[in-house]
């Protein structure tokens, strides 16, 4: 019998009622008295010198309040980068300035040059058109390898070149890896592109700045995954506003996928301008602006080499990646191709020697940063592709090759700095083969062939490091922030609870899942628990939601705070029942004295805490409210095995996904329905990357895929019915819930299996195709079929 409440039950998501009935409160729903609107004049060239910005005529246009340019921000800080990577030679990365509005140069199409604040949005736009601009266009660099050549145009004149860093990991292993590859019985090499992606949350970014002249308090309403992080970065580094005078509110947020982690110029602008013009200032991104101002994702070009011994054991792995940073360093950009990528190169396998080289490069393109999975999909993609290629070269079963090299003993310290606590990769593989009906594949292939179609089956494994992250460890790796999480649990006199969490839900379902945990711990109904998040004014300092960290880190903080509550409540109950504290048990919302029939209800105790008439005031403070901060001792390591079955139309190159199967080990599961939903969404994004999406610039830095006319988002009918399973459970050993996180798995785990399946289909028809770069559009697959 599935449970109907508490941990393991699948109550419907309570937040969906407001999302689906149009009663949510998104940032764009916030309209303040007297608010003005800002329109950003953005560069339409990828690289240029700003010779003149003349706003005189524009400033005289109807409704214009004030026009700002880079000059207005000369005394103001630039947008900070939150992670410093140290290169192979011990030197810090090149870290260029990132002004709120362009100063001197524009560096990508979409770079904001001026901001017009006016009474209406249309007036602001009209006036922006009247700004006179002289921009001397400069040659742009788009291709990363070209950007590193001598004499390439420099994105930042004050840097030595376009190299941000040349990172080696683990540098001490470099020679041993080279040697092992040279001496190996077999080496499989693959060059591939992990293409640039646009996150495309359904809700575009919005910012509303407000300033209270009477108190000197600033408020920013913004579409953020982590309001406290924005408060810290913007307050301390950009605008010089102390945190106690700055409130950041991220109300309902319609999807983030990483791109709403970062601190953006528009947020700083609205906060700054609200004070400067003494009116609230609002910006709502259009979809077109989103394409050229939201941080993009991925954009790696990689060469990977896998060395095997004569028995097909993996002996060494070497990868060489160019990672595009875009024109500026977005908040966490440097960490993505390094610590979120290199540390995962072991995958699920006991490869003893690994060396990862990453060159991060500046180009005249939109900045690139974390996007669902962030670094881990790039690691998984290349590793699982090269293993598949090796299996084909060696004529062995790709599943058998993987199994042979699986890590089977835990804890396992990889040669790339992390220690996996638990896992059972054979279990998820067994489950995959069962629920994916591998036994029936041959018949399905024959049926496809009878219709003139090619059918392929692709498999891959994945592992990710999430539950981000131990603060002391990431501090050593260059993070300029801690990565703990916080929760305050407030019990009301009548027994209801409010949890104020530092994590943030923008689709993940915290408001439903978090109460399930508390309901389980206390034995009360979930409806007695309310979750508050997203407002720095009423939640403890927290780091927000990304990296599948909410339940593993934020949930752990909530558990710790709830444990404190229960401990105190037991002391109160002991007093009420005149019993010894150690004899008090809590079950189904009743405190009882062990071995007696004495009991008091949860509500009696909470009432006593706030109406302390019969209460040990000399020993215990009244009230029932506790805060906990939880800093994880390790990452969590969800893992799994995925399979994709495709049909390819050899006449047109069109690929259709016929089956998509995911067997995941997420540790313990609080709400299986929500977990399935997270996997479904991740799969949609992974399949989107594999088959459809791709952000493309031309050689002049013009964005060719600048709207949905050319950027292909997955639609429901592009996707199959999924078979997902998360019954293989090896609980996380180091957090109180034993949970691992599931938000990114689908996006990490699916692209390699899709590509592996298409390659399998093409090879089944005797084509000598070993790789096709994503997205596997009909045109590309057809071209590959032509040989």
């Amino acid at each position: 019998m599935p449970k109907d409440h508490g941990i393991g039950a699948s109550p419907k998501r309570r937040e969906d009622v407001r999302f689906l009935s149009g009663t949510g409160n998104y940032t764009d729903d916030i309209n303040l008295n007297g608010q003005a609107y800002v329109h950003f004049l953005r560069s339409d060239v990828a690289h240029g010198r700003i010779d003149r910005v003349d706003t005189a005529a524009a400033a005289a246009m109807p409704g214009v309040v004030r026009i700002f340019t880079g000059a207005d921000f000369e005394g103001v800080g630039g947008l900070p980068c939150g992670w410093q990577v140290t290169d192979r030679h011990g030197q810090p990365m090149a870290e260029p300035g990132h002004p709120v509005l362009a100063q001197g140069k524009v560096r990508h199409v979409g770079d904001p040059i001026a901001a017009v604040v006016a009474d209406t949005y249309e007036q602001a736009r009209d006036a922006a058109e009247a700004i006179e601009l002289d921009i001397e266009e400069l040659p742009a660099v788009v291709d990363m390898k070209a950007a590193l050549r001598d004499g390439a145009p420099k994105v930042h004149d004050d840097l030595a070149g376009n190299l941000c860093y040349d990172w080696g990991f683990v540098e001490e292993n470099r020679e041993a890896v080279d040697k092992a590859i040279k001496e190996a019985a077999h080496v499989t090499t693959l060059e591939l592109v992990n293409q640039r992606m646009v996150a495309n949350p359904m809700e575009p970014r919005v910012a509303v700045g407000d300033y209270n002249r009477a108190t000197g308090d600033h408020t920013l309403y913004t579409t953020s995954q982590n309001p406290h992080v924005i408060r810290l970065l913007m307050g301390a580094f950009v605008l010089g506003i102390p945190e106690h005078k700055l409130r950041v509110v991220a109300p309902d947020v319609g999807g983030g996928f990483g791109t709403k982690i970062f601190h953006y110029a528009e947020e700083a602008f609205c906060t700054f301008a609200a004070k400067a013009v003494n009116r609230p200032v609002k910006w709502t991104s259009s979809r077109s602006e989103a394409f050229m101002s939201d941080a993009h994702g991925r954009d790696h070009v990689t060469k990977i080499e896998l060395a095997l011994d004569a028995e097909n054991n993996f002996v060494a792995l070497r990868t060489d990646t160019h990672a595009n940073m875009g024109a500026y360093l977005s908040t966490f950009a440097p960490s993505v191709p390094t610590w979120l990528h290199g540390t995962l190169m072991a995958g699920n396998y006991k490869t003893p020697l690994i060396y990862v080289n990453v060159k991060a490069v500046f180009t005249n393109t939109v900045p690139v940063d974390a996007y669902r999975g962030a670094g881990r999909p790039e690691a998984t993609f290349q590793l699982e592709r090269v293993i598949d290629k090796a299996a084909r070269e060696l004529g062995v079963d790709p599943v058998a090759l993987r199994r042979q090299n699986f890590i089977t003993e835990f804890p396992y310290a990889t040669p790339v700095a992390v220690e996996y606590d638990t896992g059972d990769y054979n279990a998820t593989m067994d489950k995959l083969i069962e629920i994916g009906d591998f036994a029936g594949f041959a018949a399905r292939r024959a049926a496809s062939e009878a219709k003139g179609k090619l059918r392929g089956l692709g498999v891959n494994c994945y592992i990710e490091a999430c539950g981000i992250a131990p603060s002391n460890l990431v501090g050593q790796l260059g993070a300029r922030a801690g990565l703990y999480e916080s929760a305050t649990v407030r019990v009301n006199a009548t027994g209801g609870l409010v949890v104020m969490t530092g994590s943030h839900s923008h689709g993940q379902g915290h408001e439903t899942a978090f109460p399930q945990v508390i309901a389980e711990m206390i034995g009360i109904d979930e409806s007695m628990v309310e979750i508050v998040h997203g407002d720095t004014a009423n939640t403890p300092m927290g780091m927000g939601t990304y990296g599948s960290r909410s339940l593993a880190v934020g949930g752990s903080a909530m558990v710790r705070a709830t444990e404190k509550i229960i401990n105190k409540a037991k002391r109160i109950a002991a007093h009420l029942m005149e019993a010894s504290e150690s004899d008090i048990e809590l079950k189904d919302g009743q405190f009882s004295v062990a071995g007696t029939d004495k009991s008091v209800a949860w509500g009696d105790v909470t009432l006593a805490a706030y109406v302390p008439h019969n209460y040990p005031l000399e020993d215990i403070e009244p009230g029932l409210e506790e805060t906990a901060f939880y800093d994880p001792s390790n990452f969590t390591y969800p893992s799994g095995a995925y399979a994709c079955e495709v049909e390819v139309d050899p006449e047109t190159g069109r690929v259709t996904i016929e089956r998509m199967t995911a067997a995941d080990d997420f540790g313990n599961i609080v709400n299986p329905m929500i977990v399935s939903g997270q996997v479904h969404g991740g799969l949609a994004q992974g399949i989107g990357q594999a088959l459809l999406e791709g952000c493309v610039y031309d050689e002049n830095g013009q964005l060719l895929s600048a709207s949905y006319m050319d950027y292909a988002m997955p639609r429901a009918d592009d996707l199959p019915f999924y078979t997902v399973d998360h019954s293989c459970v090896t609980p996380c050993t180091h957090n109180p819930l034993g949970v691992k996180g599931c938000g990114e798995a689908g996006a990490i785990g699916s692209p390699p299996s899709v590509v592996n399946a298409v390659v399998d289909a093409l090879q089944s028809a005797g084509r000598d195709v070993t790789h096709i770069d994503m997205p596997l559009s009909p045109a590309r697959v057809w071209a590959a079929l032509q040989g």
Partner: protein, 262 residues
């Protein structure tokens, strides 16, 4: 959007008069024009909405000719032409999404003549007559290249008359992002002969593949196309396909259309 006036005339005559004003533009379903205005890529002084003109709406079938009012939305065509001209109805039913089909009109589509739009291929392959506020234009004369037609300034497409073929099929290979036609082939088989019109593929907009028509008039089978190929030179090349790919798809889609009509 820049600001503009809106007129909602009740007759074609009144609409023609309203369009005399400088910089006035007709507004059909707005599915192309409104996004253009939002992007500030056009600045009409006045939009003359054709949505209230009853005489421009509806589908009728008389004596082997289906007549569709120029202001008829795609969804209505999909529903009401299904009996008389199923291939045309199917084409209309697969344009865009429900919102686009409920607003977008055949007149707007033919006036716009997007090189990747569906209707132009149906009109050309059917040998349709484009009826306007001032004259009748044969489809063969109407389409004059990408986004270019025989329409004069202020001229309104009031109706389109489609002779109904014995059999027909529209094969659309969708561009993955927009789902307009990457290549679309409309094949119509009449007693007098076969007409094959291709959209999405050419830099010159919709065109008739006359070599294929000739071959099919001799022998109506997919094999009849063997050895025939479209030259890639004038094909469109973009993110979604090379010239060669589009030329190849023209053959594939034509063969599928032949098989579909049997």
């Amino acid at each position: 959007m820049y600001s503009f006036e809106v007129d909602k005339p009740g007759s074609v005559e009144a609409a023609v008069a309203a369009l005399q004003i400088e910089e006035a533009m007709a507004l059909g379903g707005g599915q192309t024009l409104i996004p253009t205005l939002k992007q500030r890529l056009a600045s009409p002084s006045r939009l003359v909405s054709l949505a209230g003109i009853a005489e421009m709406k509806g589908v009728s079938a008389v004596d082997g000719v289906v007549t569709i009012g120029g202001g008829t939305p795609h969804a209505t065509v999909a529903r009401e032409a299904a009996g008389a001209y199923p291939a045309l109805a199917a084409l209309a039913g697969n344009i865009g999404d429900p919102a686009v089909r409920n607003r977008g009109t055949i007149g707007g589509s033919l006036a716009n003549n997007d090189p990747a739009a569906c209707y132009p291929s149906a009109a050309l392959a059917s040998g349709a007559t484009i009826v306007t506020s001032s004259r009748e234009i044969a489809a063969d004369d109407y389409f004059q290249g990408m986004f270019t037609t025989a329409l004069h300034e202020g001229e309104i497409v009031t109706a389109v008359r489609f002779p109904v073929p014995q059999a027909a099929s529209y094969q659309k290979f969708e561009q993955p992002a927009s789902r307009f036609a990457l290549v679309g082939v409309f094949l119509a088989r009449f007693a007098e002969g076969v007409r094959v019109a291709v959209t999405g593929a050419s830099e010159d907009g919709v065109f008739r593949w006359s070599e294929a028509e000739e071959a099919l008039n001799k022998e109506f089978r997919a094999d009849a196309l063997t050895g025939l190929a479209i030259a890639p030179e004038n094909m469109i090349a973009d993110l979604h396909g090379t010239k060669e790919y589009r030329a190849h798809l023209v053959s594939v889609m034509t063969k599928r259309a032949i098989r579909a009509v049997g």
